[in-house]
Each structure stands twice: as C-alpha cells, then as structure tokens.
C-alpha cells in the first residue's frame, strides 16, 4: 500500500505531500490546544493569509528563481525600499496613489533587469550580485529618508482597509448577529499572483524552459533554449514580484522605515525550501511555497495565542523546520542517485 502511494508520488510531490500533511497536523493540533481561544474560527485561518500576503508574493518569485538554480537575497531590501518610496512619494511629494504604485513597480523591474543582466550575461554568482542588490536597496531606503513615514493618502488607505466579507463561514457573536469572515485586497493580490505564476510555470513554454534551465543548463542549451534570456526574464519577473510584494507589505503596514522587512528574503527562501523546492534547481512548486508560508504563519499564530513565548522562538522553530526539510531533501536526492545507479 505504502509502496503504491510512494510510486505514484514522485520525489518532488512527496516533499510537497509531507509539507501539506505537516501543515494540516499543526493546524489541527492548534485547534485542539487552543480550543478555548477560538483557534478553529475561519477568520484565524484567513488571518494567516492577511498577515503574510506580501510573503506569499515574494515566496512565489523566490521559488521561480530557485528553480533556475539561482538565489535572490535582495528582496527584503527591495520590499523596504518600495515601502519607503511609496510613503515618501505620497506623503512628501504629493504624488497620487496610483502613479506612485506604478513607479514603484517599474523600479522593481529595472532592479531585476540589472541584477538579471549581471547574473545571466556576465555570469557572476547570483549570491554576490543580489548581495550587492541587498546592500544597495537597503542603503537607498535610508537615502530616501531615515525617518519613519506613515501613509495618510486616502486612496491608498481605502485600498488597504477595504474589507471583503465572505458569504460563508461566519459565526454568531454574543449579541446573536452573524459575523462573517473577511479578507483584504492584499490577500486577493497574493492569491492571483500565486495562480498566475502556477499556470505560467506549468503550462507555458517559458515556464517549462525555467525548469529545463534549472535542471541542467548544458542540456537546456543543447536543446536550443536561450538560457541567458530565460534567466534574465526570471530575474526581471522576480524584481517585479519583489516590488509588488513591497506594495502588498505596505498595504499591511501603511508606512516605511529603514529597518523594515529585515530577514524577509530568508523567510521567503525558508518557505520555498519547506515547500519542496530543491536548492540545486530544476525542482519546485509554488503551491508548496504557499504551504511553507502558511506553516510559518501558523507558528507565529501559536506564539501569539500562547502569549508567554517570545518572538525569537519563531526564528528557532523555522530554522529547525528548515534543517529538517533540507536534510530530508538531501536524503531523497541521495536515494534517488542510488536507485539510478542500481538500474544502470
């Protein structure tokens, strides 16, 4: 029986399967442990999405980059720069919300273009290039302004605080009125990005060539794929997604400051790895990354519900999970290697 399931699931989906099981197990455990605190409410589940919408967008972009065998550690700083730019343009320069958002997204694309060119065409290690990008964006945030700017633009706040009520999953409160769970537009953006990138990776030529390039660059080249251009496109798209993640992040925080979103890139990488993306490239799935983000959110929710634990435990638990999944990956790759050897 187990063998049959094991055969049907390839190694990649097996990792995804473990992640989903882990998430469900954690969530059920949460419902049982914190049943007095209404952990089981649908709204608590939706809050996972609300507080991590930006991370979902960023993790989707990161997954794509990791599939090509690269890495992008600049996105945390790009998010901070985006938030700061948005706040600065709207508050200090009186630029409307819509133009500001468009400018910010364009800057993200340019940022991705430069990094992508250096990585794809000059063949500099992605880690070093994006390290420089990380420095640059973080520094630029401080150059724009070293103050904390909070956004008071009405259009922007209207978008940020528009509650979208769901027609189901409500509960009766003490007064006997039905309270329906709600979402913010940021979540919608996150989900739409997730679905679009999922479709792109699965069904378009570009998406398939990303996997091919990550799997084996030499073979992809011999197959006639334009490896350099594919990589460039991926980094450009990732730059755009990082800026979009910044916008979504900003919808939640409504402000910009220099130290914002520190360690965001590591959270995105951790989410992707927990979701079954192989860091050697060629294997990965954005759905897995979504679950990676949700697991991180669940740990945070546990810690808030517990009340006495400090926030640094999140870091430790995430690192422990990361460690577990990385070791699991390495074992899977190892056994696969062995199996292949046994066949030949």
């Amino acid at each position: 029986m187990i063998q049959r399931i094991r055969n049907r699931l390839s190694d990649n989906t097996f990792l995804l399967f473990i992640t989903i099981c882990l998430f469900i197990a954690m969530y059920i455990a949460g419902i049982i442990i914190y049943r007095d605190n209404n952990f089981g409410r649908f709204q608590v589940f939706l809050n996972l999405f609300i507080s991590n919408a930006g991370l979902i967008v960023a993790a989707v972009g990161m997954t794509m980059v990791l599939i090509t065998g690269g890495i992008d550690i600049s996105i945390g700083s790009v998010v901070a720069m985006t938030c700061m730019l948005l706040a600065w343009m709207m508050e200090n320069k009186n630029i409307g919300a819509l133009p500001a958002i468009i400018i910010v997204l364009l800057i993200g694309i340019v940022f991705g273009l430069v990094q992508g060119w250096l990585i794809a065409y000059l063949k500099i290690q992605p880690f070093i290039v994006t390290l420089a990008g990380m420095f640059f964006a973080r520094g630029m945030t401080a150059v724009i302004s070293s103050d904390i700017i909070s956004i008071k633009n009405e259009t922007f706040l209207a978008i940020a605080n528009a509650k979208i009520y769901l027609p189901f999953g409500g509960y009766l409160n003490r007064k006997g009125t039905m309270v329906y769970p709600y979402l913010y537009p940021s979540v919608i953006i996150g989900i739409v990005v997730l679905i679009l990138i999922y479709m792109m990776l699965k069904y378009t030529k570009f998406g398939r060539s990303i996997y091919a390039v990550g799997g084996n660059e030499q073979s992809a080249l011999l197959m006639g794929l334009n490896v350099k251009r594919t990589k460039l496109k991926v980094y450009v798209l990732n730059g755009f997604l990082a800026a979009l993640a910044g916008f979504v992040f900003c919808l939640n925080t409504s402000g910009g400051f220099v130290e914002q979103a520190k360690g965001f890139e590591m959270e995105a990488i951790a989410a992707a790895v927990i979701g079954g993306t192989l860091l050697t490239g060629g294997v990965g799935n954005v759905i897995g990354s979504l679950f990676g983000v949700l697991i991180k959110g669940t740990i945070e929710t546990f810690i808030t519900f517990q009340g006495t634990l400090s926030s640094w435990w999140t870091k430790i638990v995430i690192a422990a999970l990361l460690c577990f999944f990385i070791i699991l990956q390495s074992i899977l790759v190892f056994t696969k290697h062995k199996r292949r050897k046994a066949i030949t």
């Binding site: 000059l122 420089a132 401080a142 790895v273 640094w312 990385i326 070791i327």
Partner: protein
C-alpha cells in the same frame, strides 16, 4: 623597453595587485579629503589616529575573513552564519560570566568563560561542517539554518535582555590593556593570522584544502579525505567567529543578541572577494583577504568621516562590490574583446575600401 613591459606585466599579474590597488585608491582618496589622515599621535599613553582606528576596527573582520577564505577555498561556498555565530559565542561567554543579570562580579574564571564562548562558536561551525561535508548540502543553504536560528539561540541564552559586564578587566580584550599603546584586537588578529599561516605553510593542509576546493572528487580519488577537510574548514570558520565574538562583546562590554556582529558576514565575504580569491573555490590567498578586510574597514571609516550615515553606507558598499565583480568577470572581458575586435574589423574594412 621590453623589460619594463615585462616587469609591469609581472606586477599586474601578481595575485596581490588587485587588493593592494583597491586599498591604495581608498587611502589616496582619504588623503586628498583629509590631509591629516596618516597622522598618528600619542594621547594618554594610547595611539590615536585614523589609521589606528581602521586597523583596530578591522581586527574582527580580519579574523572572520581568514576563516571565510578557507571556507571559500575548501568548499566553493560561503558561510553566512558567522555574524550570528559570533553573537552566540558572545552570549555564551557573558552568560557564563554574569548569569542572566547585568553585574560586576564574575561567576567563573574569565579564561574559562572565554574558552566556553569560543567552543560554542566551534560547535556551531562543526554543525555547519557536518551539514555541508557529510550531508552534501549547499554551503549557503546549510549555513542559512544558523543564520536564521543563531540570533534566536543567543536571545534564548540572554533571555532577551542586553547583558552588561561592569568590570574594567572585561574591556581589555576589545580596547586597551593599560600601559600598552596598541589596541588589543590588533594583537589577537595578528596571532590568529600567524598561527593560521604557520599551520597552512608548515603542513600540507593548505595544499589539501586547495585540492579539495578545486575538485573534491579528484581529491578523493588521490586519497584525500575531502569530507574531513570540508568539515574542518567549517569548524575553523566557527572558531574564528567565536574569537571575533569575544572582541565584539568586549568592545561594548555587553551582549545585544540582535545587533552583535550584524551584517559582518557580508563584509567578510566582501573582504575575500576583494582579496582576489575566486568565490568558486580553489586557490586562495590569506594575505589578499586581510588586505581586503582592511580596505573595507578603510572604506567604512572614510565614508563615516565624509558624513555618510550608517544607514546609507550600504549603497557605497554595493557599488564597490559590483565594480569589483565586474572587473573580475571573464565574461565582460570577452565582451569587451569582441567589441574591440569588431571595431578593428570594421576599420580595416573601411581602409580596404
């Protein structure tokens, strides 16, 4: 004439040419901006001056860069956890000394506490080494675990407080020993460098690490235990991070788990890159990395002197990194060469007409 050209070529081809040029550029810019840059004066029995400051501040960076050089050489990867590990080491030492309350009396001998801290660094390094060498995980990813968890662990040790050691002797390691005009960190850095170089030169270890870094499979076939060398290299990097952690905590006689050695891993990697070491492993030069570390500290100090705030500093560092990697890129050289070739061809064609 030919001889001058040959000499020039030999000078520019030398492995230390690039890092020394970088350092020279930074220093010359400084000299133009502040003419008193090289002046060193004796105040209160202690040496003062920009140069002393740069050397003093670059000590921990030099120590980390030495460890990082070996990691890069032996595994072709980087250890991004060193900053977090030095924070852990500092937290362990201070916790061992004063417990979870700031205080002015030691609970145990100072030497033992320092030993414990350095040992904690080594254990972290060994953990990284185990993941990279034994489980064959990419270095960046393996060290990502401690990068994420390290500061959390340090927080758990200090229980989220900033712990102070209010004792004069504790400051000696990171500042001055009374009666000695040169800052103590410089001595420590020198000792670490000398011991490392002696071990690498007097034994075949340096050669082995290079062999493993160039091609670990080939090294194994020759009979070297590549797994062991990779493991050792990471443990050594952890040891260096532990020593650096001692200096960092002693400088401010306290441990702030969130900020001790923040972003120092990036500077250490940068130092290795400026030192002319290839980041994909293999041949390495400790001297280059040391010059790289001093260059970065000189850059940082001079930017501070030019009234650049700490937040804005990364912009300049980023520009420097990009320029350096572009200079080192063989791909760019080829591009320029092909452009030049095209230009020559078109000129010839024009002449032919």
């Amino acid at each position: 004439m030919m001889k001058v050209k040959q000499v020039l070529k030999r000078v520019t081809k030398h492995s230390l040419f690039f890092p020394l040029t970088c350092l020279a550029i930074v220093l010359i810019i400084n000299l133009i901006k502040t003419p008193t840059f090289f002046r060193i004066s004796l105040n209160n029995g202690v040496l003062y001056g920009y140069m002393m400051d740069i050397l003093n501040r670059s000590s921990e960076l030099i120590i980390l860069a030495v460890g990082m050089t070996l990691v890069v050489a032996g595994s072709g990867g980087t250890d991004i956890s060193v900053g977090a590990v030095s924070s852990v080491a500092g937290a362990v030492t201070i916790f061992a000394l004063v417990g979870s309350m700031s205080s002015d009396t030691y609970r145990m001998p100072y030497g033992l506490a320092v030993l414990l801290g350095v040992l904690a660094g080594m254990v972290c390094g060994a953990f990284n080494g185990f993941l990279v060498a034994k489980l064959r995980i990419q270095p960046m990813v393996a060290t990502l675990i401690l990068f994420t968890a390290g500061r959390g662990i340090a927080q758990v040790i200090t229980q989220g407080f900033i712990l102070y050691v209010r004792k004069e002797q504790f400051k000696y390691l990171g500042n001055f020993i009374p009666g000695v005009p040169i800052p103590t960190p410089i001595f420590i850095a020198t000792i670490v460098v000398v011991i490392t170089v002696l071990i690498l030169k007097k034994t075949a270890l340096g050669l082995y690490i290079q062999a493993v870094g160039i091609n670990s499979k080939a090294a194994r076939l020759v009979g070297l235990n590549s797994t062991l060398f990779t493991f050792l290299v990471y443990t050594f990097s952890g040891l260096c991070a532990g020593i650096a952690g001692m200096i960092i905590t002693s400088r401010v006689y306290s441990i702030d788990a969130n900020n001790a050695g923040l972003n120092i891993e990036l500077d250490a990697i940068l130092a290795v890159a400026i030192g002319g070491n290839s980041l994909s492993g293999g041949k390495f030069s400790i001297a280059g990395s040391i010059i790289g570390a001093i260059t970065i500290q000189a850059l940082t100090t001079s930017l501070y002197a030019m009234k650049v705030t700490a937040d804005q500093l990364p912009v300049y560092k980023a520009i420097v990194v990009i320029i350096i990697v572009m200079i080192q890129s063989t791909e760019l050289k080829r591009m320029v060469k092909s452009l030049h070739h095209k230009f020559l061809c078109s000129r010839e064609r024009r002449w032919a007409k």
